[in-house]
């Protein structure tokens, strides 16, 4: 068992961009034979075990302390634990995987441009329909804390597993909170982002779990890896400040 475990996305564009990013920093990944493609290693870093997991699993494994480091979307990390402190440390934004988590409503709602407008409509809706306006999302935590911060309480969250953007047209929710890169999918579904409705500007993050077992060997391996990834930056020092002695 290697001293340090690091998880990277196992498929899709995020996986390719992630590999390119590590390669660009001179860290080359080698697939481990016989591990069915879910285990790998970095050439020259014998103490680091690389695991290939889904982006969502990486976020929950970091939160649970099952792995030391991971690369995944900041949206997933913040949804896993809205209060990062004591759980996760964001080491570095990697400059890819950009996407915004946004509040979107129908373009037919020409009278709704801001969260304050949405608040009025939520309150009026609750009064006339005697039930709360529904917000479809897979980001329940992020939505709850953003709406609380915007002082909106007259709504309820309906969990959405996929195709959230279709919910208003399908009649399963009135409003959505979803991730968008270009806004094209939202537009195609007759939706618009509220002016002050950007909850999070997300990108791929290299993150550390603060609840994992950080042995002396793990710390040493991590210091060596981070030193290689960004020789100019004090990445490991910043992380070490958050690790308990």
């Amino acid at each position: 068992m290697a001293a340090l475990t690091l998880a990277i996305p196992s498929k899709g564009r995020l996986k390719e961009q992630c590999n390119d990013w590590f390669a660009g920093a001179g860290v080359v990944m080698e697939q481990t034979a016989g591990a069915r493609g879910y285990r790998a290693s970095f050439a020259g870093f014998d103490d680091v075990e690389v695991m290939l997991l889904s982006a969502g699993e990486i976020a929950s494994s970091l939160f649970a302390g099952d792995i030391h480091l991971g690369v995944t979307g900041e949206d997933l990390l913040r949804e896993e634990t809205p209060e990062l402190e004591g759980h996760l440390h964001l080491i570095k934004g990697l400059g890819f995987g950009f996407a915004d988590v946004v509040v979107a409503v129908s373009r037919a709602w020409i009278d709704v441009a801001t969260m304050a407008d949405l608040d009025d409509v939520c309150a009026a809706y609750a009064q006339t329909h005697r039930r709360r306006l529904r917000v479809a999302t897979k980001y329940a935590q992020l939505t709850r804390s953003f709406f609380a911060q915007q002082r909106i309480s007259d709504y309820r969250i309906v969990p959405s597993a996929g195709a959230t953007e279709g919910a208003p047209a399908a009649g399963t929710a009135e409003v959505i909170v979803d991730i968008t890169t270009t806004g094209a999918t939202l537009r195609d579904n007759g939706l618009k982002v509220l002016d002050d409705g950007v909850i999070l500007k997300s990108q791929a993050q290299l993150a550390a779990s603060l609840t994992a077992e950080w042995s002396a060997e793990a710390r040493a391996a991590c210091a060596k890896l981070l030193g290689k990834l960004d020789p100019a930056g004090p990445l490991y020092a910043a992380l070490a400040a958050h690790l308990s002695a």
Binding site: E83, V105, R107, A108, I110, D111, D120, F147, S153, Y155
Partner: protein, 380 residues
Amino acid sequence: MPAFPYYGSASIEALNRQASALLDLFSSRGFGREEPAVLQPAEIFLNRYGEEIRRRTFTLTDPSGRDLALRPDLTIPICREAVLANRSFPARICYNGLVFRHQPGEPHRPTQFFQAGVELLGQDDRAAGDAEILTLAVEALRVCGVKDFSLRIGDLALFGALVDALALPPQWRSRLKRHFWRPGYVESLLYWLSHGDGTLKLPGTRAEIETLLDAQAEAPLAGRTREDIIARTLGRAAEAASLRLENRVAGAVTQLLDISGPAEEALGKVRALLKTVAIDLNSELAAMEARLAVLRGLGVDPAQIQFTAHFGRNMEYYTGFVFELWARDKEGPVQVAGGGRYDSMMEMLGAKKPVSAVGCAIRTERVLAARTAPQVMGGV
């Protein structure tokens, strides 16, 4: 109390004795005991009430996929039953049972505790209803043997009447009332109102609005009607044209929200301030005076009654008079009871017409701790 309390036989006995005393008192005043199920359909808490309650409610899914909740209070299920059973009013209902609260960010607080309480539904004489419940709350503490306690009182209707007296568009009035209970928020809205330039880029005529809407014919109406959207757009345009609140008036409202202190004195300050802006809230102030008279009649020391203008309790359903009773346990001041008026709840739960409602809940474990703690003189 620990997050997961364990009740030993001594504390069960003490709690039971205290509960019997409370229920005897309630029963002697015509309140009949009822008990809703511990496990409730989640919908009544989540759909009718907002995320604030949801955040503190334990929810679970049964094997068939139905969403359930451990009751976060007994008021909502009791009111719901009163609506479903088509009860005749006035109805006097009392209870004693466990409630369950998720305490996000506060892992040391108990996830379950006992509440004993009363609900008075459909008593149309609101002043009489307020007096009856306030009296019962004070008597309840005394029956339990708590002699030293203080009160915090407030009235959301006072603020509502104040907002109605302002020359503001309806949309803004409802916004101010809706956010009354959020610390700092009303103040920032008022600041914005008196300093903003009020310009809003919205079409002003119905024809312009219809054209805009037609251009979005592909987009879903998402639960609203075309007419609703047109009406609100027209309203916003009219509002933008008229939106202005005199600095002087906004300043007075902000000052008023800051008033807090011994009740008689604080109400005097409220009167003086209202006079400077020529706003008349005499009937709301008289209602508050009447409640103070009730407390005097019960022999409560006026120095122990604190009026706080912005006091709205941090629950979403209160609409009028609100109060809290505080005592001391061995660690310091602790809220032992709280209640107030929630006149919109019965309609939210499906009643066909408005039903007045006022009630009070007692944190019996805290009362027990306060009763057995060594008492020091002086208020909270």
